[in-house]
């Protein structure tokens, strides 16, 4: 078992301290930062994601694994920067104005992060200007919008319109999710896609960016 295997196992088991120790050791052994990231951390999260999709684990196991990955990333990040490793994409995610629902958005963000995306979390009750700013000034490749109420889903269109008005609609892909919306609604408001759950959101974003 290599140190990368041990790192992967530590993350899958959600053992933050083990993950931390193994990343340090892998660096000491001379593994490149991108190898540790891709073959250790991202591969572990991909495994956990698959176990979740297969019904073997629940979200808490995934989150605890993500927390372990996050700890390990804190050590690894400077090495990734030094090596010039970039995230596979940057996603600005938020629950639209007037809506306080947090959980769905949080899960999508966690799954995307575990797949190597950089997340700009705009929080809940997020006004359109925040999404525009994330695209204009923070380089978001994807805008992910969440809403859980029939009376707040129209605010998804407000964001799409704001991005158009700011002249950045063509620079970004837009994905929507939440109980009251579907693909037809995504088409209607001019979004690029819809995902019914966190796992498919990752697949959809990957597909949108061709990564």
């Amino acid at each position: 078992m290599t140190i990368i295997d041990e790192l992967r196992e530590g993350v899958i088991q959600g053992q933050a301290n083990v993950a931390l120790e193994k990343v340090k050791k892998a660096l000491e052994e001379g593994y490149a930062a991108d190898v540790i990231l891709n073959e250790g951390l991202i591969s572990a999260m991909s495994n956990v994601g698959q176990m979740y999709e297969d019904g073997v684990v629940f979200v808490p196991e995934m989150l605890i694994a993500a927390r372990a990955m996050d700890k390990a990333l804190q050590i690894l990040r400077p090495y990734l920067v030094a090596q010039g490793v970039k995230p596979v994409g940057k996603v600005a995610i938020g629950t639209v104005k007037g809506d306080l629902h947090d959980i769905g958005k949080k899960l999508v963000a966690m799954m995307l992060e575990g797949s190597g995306f950089e997340i700009i979390d705009l929080g809940i009750d997020a006004p359109p200007e925040k999404f525009v700013d994330a695209v204009q000034n923070k380089g978001a490749d994807v805008v992910a919008l969440s809403a859980l109420l029939t009376t707040t889903m129209p605010n998804m269109k407000t964001v799409v319109d704001a991005l158009k008005q700011a002249g950045v609609r063509d620079k970004v892909r837009i994905i929507i999710g939440g109980a009251p919306v579907n693909q037809a609604y995504a088409d209607q408001i001019g979004a690029d896609g819809y995902a019914p759950d966190a796992s498919s959101a990752v697949r959809k974003v990957r597909e949108m960016l061709g990564v």
Binding site: F58, P60, L100, I103, I124, T151, M153, D197
Partner: protein, 460 residues
């Protein structure tokens, strides 16, 4: 303040639909919990924005909903009707809007009462908008002021019953559900939630008394129902959602200790516990609430209901009419069956209740913990403790044990994964300190001040 130390319902056979030891009589003579089950209809708008510009259309939507629902209620000979108007957040933030809709509903209910003899009650539920500010200020500020004003104006506009889905403690509870962190759930419900409920319900009771409205009850919707929905989509184990449900009882009970008198809120699936402990009537929802969300307790929720609700339905057009009207019809028939069983005699009513119970309990631990005998046993455990935190802790320990035994005896079979999680959660429950102060101390380092203002709960 009433501290519940004894059960109002001691015999599981007495925990039954339509009957409460402390029924509620409204000024118009409608008795809730006095023998009959009534439909409680809730509804919401179709996809649309809420603003000053759209208010004319919104008024018209509510007018159409209530006119059509009342007409159907008369056609179906319902013996009584409760209508719930759950405000949308914008309507609480602009309290005049919520009051305006309340007046529209009141006017229609009064006309049907006068013209057709339809006895009814209007429950109005302003939103807990404090969470629009993060971290929320729980006891002051503009959002608090608007919320209180919303209660006052809605009561003055004709609300008979006042309710809320309060959210004190939810700032840390959502994450605790997702991380399966039982001590944090216990802290959110038993320490933060209970403190917030005390403060909030003292205010709601005052507003109710001053304006002639009845302080009805709260719900652990933002806590236990969040867990239920997450369990339904396989995000968390079902045993975890069942544990949270019973742990939430102590928090919801605080409203009644501060002066709420029922009927409990429909989405409070902990309602049977509230009824067993306080004797006040409850609203419940299940099969007919599938218009709003799925649940594993569709039939068993009927077993102890005094009001039978649909949770909420959008005002969209169906073949059978507007969705709220259709929903009302479904509720009316469900309630009629229960009332027919009651009319046939206690033996028949009990038989129907037992069928409701038996049809759900083996499928899901969340249904199992609503079995009347389980409710009585666990309620007895809960009120053996004096503080809200003590009750939450006792609920966690006793429910874990109860579910383990139910699995072992084949009464509620659990999958190996669920059993594994029950063990993990049970171990966490075992670590809960007996003294509330010890838990508060333990949580100090774990609480993110960016998420929650502990001083707003009277904690330093």
């Amino acid at each position: 303040m009433e501290i519940y130390k004894h059960l109002a319902v001691k015999d599981p056979d007495d925990l039954i639909f339509g009957h409460s030891p402390r029924p509620l009589t409204l000024p118009n003579g409608l008795v809730i919990g006095g023998g009959l089950v009534y439909p409680e209809l809730n509804f919401t708008l179709p996809p649309m924005s809420i603003s000053a510009e759209t208010m004319p259309e919104i008024r018209e939507q509510y007018r159409q909903i209530i006119e059509s629902a009342c007409a159907r209620a008369v056609d179906l000979y319902v013996p009584g009707l409760v209508v719930e108007f759950e405000l949308l957040p914008e309507m609480t933030r602009t309290p005049e809007w919520g009051a305006e809709i309340t007046a529209i509903l009141r006017d229609c209910l009064d006309r049907f009462a006068q013209r057709d003899g339809l006895k009814s009650a209007l429950r109005v539920t302003p939103n807990d908008i404090r969470e629009f500010e993060r971290p929320p200020r729980m006891r002051s500020g503009g959002l608090w002021d608007d919320m209180i004003r919303s209660f006052e104006l809605c009561a003055q506009a004709g609300a008979d019953l006042l309710s809320i889905e309060s959210t004190g403690g939810k700032e840390i509870h959502d994450d605790a559900i997702l991380y399966a962190d039982l001590p944090t759930v216990a802290y959110a419900l038993g320490v933060l939630g209970a403190r917030d409920m005390t403060f909030l319900w003292d205010m709601i009771v005052r507003v109710g008394l001053k304006n002639g409205a009845i302080p009805a009850g709260d719900t652990a919707c933002g806590f236990a129902n969040t867990a239920m929905v997450l369990a339904e989509i396989r995000h968390i184990p079902r045993v975890w959602a069942a544990l949270i449900r019973v742990m939430s009882v102590a928090r919801s009970l605080v409203a009644f200790e501060r002066g709420a008198v029922g009927p409990g809120k429909d989405c409070a699936y902990e309602g049977p516990y509230i009824k067993a402990i306080t004797g006040y009537p409850i609203a419940m929802e299940g099969a007919e609430a599938a218009v709003a969300h799925s649940s594993p307790i569709g039939n068993i929720a009927k077993a102890t209901a005094d009001l039978w609700s649909n949770e909420s339905v959008q005002n969209v057009r169906l073949l059978g009419g507007a969705a709220p009207t259709v929903s009302l019809e479904q509720l009316a028939y469900a309630a009629r069956l229960m009332n027919t069983a009651t009319e046939a005699g206690p033996h028949t009513a009990l038989m129907l209740r037992n069928l409701f119970v038996a049809s759900d309990t083996t499928y899901d631990p969340q249904a199992y913990v609503l079995r009347p005998d389980v409710v009585i046993d666990l309620s007895r455990e809960i009120i053996a403790e004096e503080t809200a935190y003590g009750r939450v802790r006792r609920a966690a320990l006793a429910t874990a044990q109860c579910l383990r035994k139910a699995h072992h005896d084949g009464l509620c079979p659990l999958s190996p994964q669920e059993v594994n999680w029950l063990d993990r959660l049970s171990k966490q429950a075992d670590t809960l300190p007996e003294a509330e102060e010890a838990l508060i101390e333990q949580m100090k380092d774990q609480i993110d001040p960016e998420k929650i203002r502990q001083d707003q709960y009277g904690l330093t």
